[in-house]
Symmetry: C2
Subunit: 273 residues, 2 copies
């Protein structure tokens, strides 16, 4: 094993793991142009295992030096292991001990939007879903309910951001995702590739989702927007159908991950009939 | 207005609002026997408004003394307003300012299980749902998707706990809840009251939820358990049907709030056919 004991929070070995709770800063560091561009973090034995089985390359693993459990056997020999003392753990996590190890993975090359949609039959498209918790939950639900792919507009947050990876329970690794280079144009590309584009909206004028009819072989793109404001007018206008989940008690919306789950379930049922 | 300026965190007027983030302590203080038994907290103009419209009595409102927006007009004249300085706000929230006011409400008297189920046709029953975020999300979804009532076993957390109220977006006020005095006995009471009891489980041997058939007028109780471990064997055995949401990619479970949303949606559809 390739392991190092780190006792000083200013040690260059651990700089990539600092400021974990500063979402904005972390996202800046990890995205193109940042000092951590090319990497993403994932926490916990289970989620790290999912990342590795999905083919991602674990580069460094940060572990509490007081960890009693042996390291899981799925950690490759080549990984750099940082065994961190209390001062380092406190600087990183704000607590004196760290239950879940943190892995730094090599970020995969982006997929090509026009190529990857050809291989998909159920796609979730996000517009302005900026909250990493919602993004993680959306991936968990999309993965469980038969979606093949998540397409993101430029303002939706990074699914490989640590909090999203965690909330997804590692399901961000089970299902592909891709950025749409130019969003509104991308919606046209989906159409010309044969997709029926369904815009999920709380609007009362929209079609009850239980009443849609979809042929089994028709590719479907489900568009979801930011919680609260929903999809933009320009996105809504470009879709083939506006659909809604009827709600009781004037509840105005569901959480975006939950709404996607119910809609994907309804799409699956519509295809079975 | 009945208002007080509070600058000292040790002022007796604000003691009920301290240690907001210590979940265990807060729950102990608010439940029977605690020094705050008889009260619950709710945050934010919108959620506080929902509490008041649902008929709950707001007793005290804690506000940042630097709040610029006038107090909403729905705050009754009789409410005690605590205008708090920075030291108090910091002691309460850990931050120097407080965006959302915090209201202390009088806790309503518990409902009677055997009475309230007579008035309900779609009931969600929780067993060991101890996480307030999940509980809040469950109420939001239950309220949106036609449930009338949430019945809680003795270990499920308090829906009127601050975090649950917040995550529910105030929907804990829109839908009744009740503790089941003796859980397994309560499941029998549901049966003798005409309820079909559906146990939600990831078990592959369970019935696909899309294939259940329910008469429109049949009362249904949907049982959900703790995330991870699920319903206990004794609860599962006492139900009329075990149902599952089929999941792709070996995803083993959905979040309990999300699973309840999909199941309630499927129950609504089953009743429509």
């Amino acid at each position: 094993m390739n392991s190092y004991v780190v006792v000083d929070p200013s040690d260059p070995l651990v700089q990539d793991f600092l400021h974990l709770n500063d979402h904005r800063l972390r996202q800046e560091r990890e995205l193109p142009g940042g000092d951590m561009a090319g990497f993403f973090l994932a926490e916990g034995d289970h989620v790290i295992e999912r990342g590795i089985s999905a083919g991602h390359v674990l580069s460094t693993l940060l572990v509490d030096a007081n960890r009693k459990k042996p390291l899981p056997s799925f950690i490759p020999e080549t990984v750099k292991i940082l065994l961190c003392g209390e001062a380092v753990i406190t600087a990183i996590s704000g607590r004196a001990s760290l239950r879940d190890p943190i892995g730094s993975f090599i970020r995969p090359s982006p997929l090509s939007f026009s190529q990857v949609i050809q291989l998909s039959t159920t796609v979730v498209v996000t517009e302005r879903v900026t909250n990493p918790t919602n993004m993680g939950s959306l991936f968990r639900n999309a993965s469980a309910l038969d979606a093949d792919l998540v397409c993101l507009d430029s303002t939706s947050c990074d699914p490989l951001y640590r909090r999203a990876v965690r909330v997804s329970m590692g399901q961000v690794f089970a299902i592909n995702h891709v950025r749409i280079p130019r969003f509104l144009e991308g919606l046209e590309v989906l159409k010309s590739s044969g997709f029926t584009r369904l815009a999920l909206t709380p609007d009362n004028g929209a079609l009850d989702i239980a009443e849609i009819s979809i042929k089994e072989e028709t590719p479907v793109a489900l568009l979801v927007g930011a919680e609260g404001s929903g999809l933009t007018k320009s996105a809504l206008q470009r879709c083939d159908y506006k659909i809604r989940i009827p709600m009781s008690r004037n509840v105005d919306s569901l959480n975006v991950g939950t709404a996607a789950a119910v809609a994907l379930y309804a799409i699956r049922e519509a295809r079975r009939i």
